[in-house]
Symmetry: C2
């Protein structure tokens, strides 16, 4: 499962010293993506990332379906006229749209077609047909698809910010505002359940300030994960759209009282390819990728240690173990003609959770050496107990990965009383927690000041609201209306 | 899982009498797709089709991976300059390309970007980086993705011919022509294994005539399925590309002898959304959809027959059966407040393989009525034996569906000695088998004559070649070089 076996060398840059360079090396050397495709910001995802991404999609789809969402497949193109119906939305997305304007040999289309940057304006036109009565509600659907955003002014970064990315969007209609608000809560729970528990990425959910909402939303709630660079990255966000889209798109239903009413909408957008990038970045170390056990393309590799006389015996034992473990796990028995050292190196780079080494000396002792990628720990395990050992590691691996990262995450927040303290915090790769005048539009000026002088942004107020402890806004000094978090971001 | 419960009425048109209208009603009334999206030829796939389509993708991906293909995710956009590298290919596809020419507020792109109509010209540019040495071969990759083709001159038809469709493309590189030819055979086997055995669609594989090859291919081998309309539809095709693409795209490898050589390429394109449409069209009947057991969104529905006094008892028994069967099957216990008759009707329309009815009289006899969608047969089954009964039906359901259709398929071929006999056959909704001068380019004129005077096309020669029994070409009367099949097509 390698694109070019001979070029593999280890990562040469320390994650702590230069996160950005380390990440670039990781992408290339663990063979996660190839950036040489000849359109700027469009990349090729290689098998080693695609296999995990597909597993992440599968889990997300299972959980969404369990929570009552049904799948749809929608056109990728959106007529410009749909797109124009919601004013805030078009203002937010229009600058980044890729437009299809012609077919074949320059035959102009009657109307420009947008490559969907997000699907609200494709879907809600149809929702106006599909939603009829209170019996149809809640109406919960999702798409697994890709979206395109030109974002000409922003630097792209593989997985984290690309011009085409792969996500899920769930779009729901409810009879009441309270139902819609409950959905937003459910979406946040889903994010914790998957991103944090299963993918081992510690996240915090913020209510975004008014000036940083999804275009057209009433409120936006977004998860931020903190990278080792000290910058945060936005992971899934969920949006309370209220009736902002149901009105222009005429998404109405006949209620129990016989009256026509506008539905309350929500949408939720976990960007799987971006979550993958964040996961690789956050969990990886100076040896390369580290992956949750359940998402690793190979969960176990078996490396034979070969000497002339014992080759057959060793290979036979490896085969037996491969057969035994393959019933439950994705196992690769690495028989390639390269040195055992090179193999160790490569599978560490690619983040395979467990490596089993068997040589003639091990055979004598009826054991194998099992190496844990996460801890680096080597265990001599009796051959008869290998399966049990893998079972036991597999149960704990992702949990302990998560706990380690959660512990680190907590120390990253620094309380700040004024802008100088905020500056010090973000320059030291921390997240600042501070008083802020307001996250309504009247706080925008203070946020702009932070952006301008610190290159950082106000992420919003924590959803699981803490007690206010700050008296003043860290910028203008007016009474603090909120406690906010401030960080540099991708 | 219904988009608008109140509008459902049965299909009003006989499949035999008017296949085309029957198909349109099926799509609408079984809620497979909505055609009201406001771009011509772009449709919304509804949950009832999407769930099956996802299961079909899953099976296809499993089988391809088992046969050594690894997944990739590639950009959807292809620079015009890539696209121009293979002359035949560009000639074949350029008229149907949707072009992205600008972003945002009319900012022109430096180069037009094609929405991929197929991915050869995106991939092979990268293959030239990825394939280096004989050690990398065979190099087998696949994409699960969508493609776009404007096809302005052709009528669209939901699932069967759309301007955006969802498929898999597998693209492989080999060291020798023989290896590439073996891959083409494997692709045909995969098609039989999935389309015919699992999806119950009888297919025949043809080597397409030279004038009907994939643009840029050495040979094209395509499966045709015969619809009840008498028209055939092309299902998966596999293409021997030889070195036609490896040369312009520079896909080379260092062979064992140290020499640089051009790889031999193949590609295979099962169009899942189209296969779904063909399956729905071929298996369906005048009551609606019929589905292979494994692909049905619900495999079993349970409908309680309720009378005042026994409601609780009946519901309780239904719940118990739901619980028992849900361990192995996708089960829906239909508790909705509509009449049992309406429910029967709806689930027949949607092709649920088994319906279990339980009423008070059944309870007295400790039985349930189990109705088989395919045969219409009703069986009284002891409650204690329900699970066994479902197990036994589930094992045979798809097989018997396939056998029934295969039997019908065979009678559809008619031997013809001259063009008048061919005309009679195709007008009678049959496939004509006839002698033909040549499927090389020198036969193109006779094929054009058939196209012009009969509205039918030469599908090519059967891959599992039969003995030649025809002496003369059915058009020009010259000695028959081949036995070909002629049919009207979608």
């Amino acid at each position: 499962m390698q694109e070019k076996s001979k070029d593999i060398k280890g990562i040469t840059i320390s994650k702590e010293k230069d996160f950005s360079e380390w990440y670039s090396e990781l992408i290339q050397k663990a063979e996660l993506a190839d950036l040489r495709y000849n359109i700027k910001g469009f990349i090729c995802y290689l098998p080693w990332s695609v296999i995990s991404i597909k597993l992440m999609y599968k889990r997300y789809e299972e959980v969404l379906e369990k929570k009552g969402h049904l799948p749809l497949i929608m056109p990728s193109l959106i007529p410009e006229s749909n797109f124009l119906l919601e004013a805030e939305h078009v203002k937010g997305f229009a600058p980044d749209v890729f437009w299809v304007t012609e077919t074949g040999d320059g035959q102009k289309l009657p109307e420009r077609l947008a490559l969907r940057p997000t699907s609200e304006t494709a879907l809600y036109k149809m929702y106006s047909y599909w939603v009829r009565s209170y019996n149809d509600l809640p109406f919960k659907r999702y798409l697994s698809c890709q979206v395109w955003r030109a974002e000409n002014t922003k630097a792209t970064r593989p997985f984290l910010r690309a011009r085409e990315f792969h996500w899920i969007e769930a779009h729901n209609v409810f009879a009441t505002l309270a139902d819609a608000e409950a959905q937003v809560k459910e979406d946040m729970e889903t994010s914790y359940e998957l991103c944090q528990e299963e993918f081992a990425i510690p996240i915090m959910f913020f209510q975004r300030p008014e000036w940083d909402k999804f275009p057209g939303a009433v409120h936006t709630y977004a998860a931020d994960a903190l990278m080792d660079s000290g910058k945060v990255i936005q992971l899934p966000s969920t949006h309370l759209l209220g009736q902002n889209f149901s009105k222009p798109f005429n998404v109405t239903f006949t209620d129990k009282d016989g009256k026509q009413k506008f539905g309350y909408l929500t949408c939720y957008g976990p960007a799987i390819s971006r979550i993958y990038g964040a996961m690789a970045a956050i969990l990886g170390d100076d040896k390369g990728l580290v992956l949750p056990f359940e998402l690793a393309p190979y969960q176990v590799v078996i490396v034979p240690i070969l000497f002339k006389d014992s080759t057959d015996k060793v290979l036979k034992q490896c085969s037996a173990i491969e057969k035994e473990l393959s019933v439950k796990y994705r196992v690769f028995f690495d028989k390639r003609e390269v040195s055992a050292g090179e193999k160790f190196h490569e599978w560490e780079l690619k983040g395979v959770p467990l490596r089993i080494e068997i040589g003639p000396k091990d055979l004598e002792k009826e054991q194998a050496i099992v190496v844990n990628r996460q801890t680096g720990k080597k265990s001599a395990v009796k051959l008869s107990a290998i399966s049990k050992h893998v079972d036991s590691v597999s149960k704990e691996y992702t949990k302990s990965l998560k706990q380690k990262k959660m512990a680190g995450f907590k120390g990253y927040t620094v309380d700040c009383d004024n802008i100088e303290e905020v500056r010090e915090a973000v320059d030291n790769k921390k997240m600042a927690r501070a008083g802020f005048c307001s996250i309504d539009l009247d706080g925008a000026e203070c946020a702009a000041e932070i952006e301008k002088s610190l290159g950082a942004s106000v992420r919003g107020k924590l959803v699981d609201e803490e007690k206010h402890k700050f008296k003043k806004c860290c910028v203008c000094g007016k009474p603090a209306g909120e406690t906010v978090y401030i960080a540099k971001s991708y």
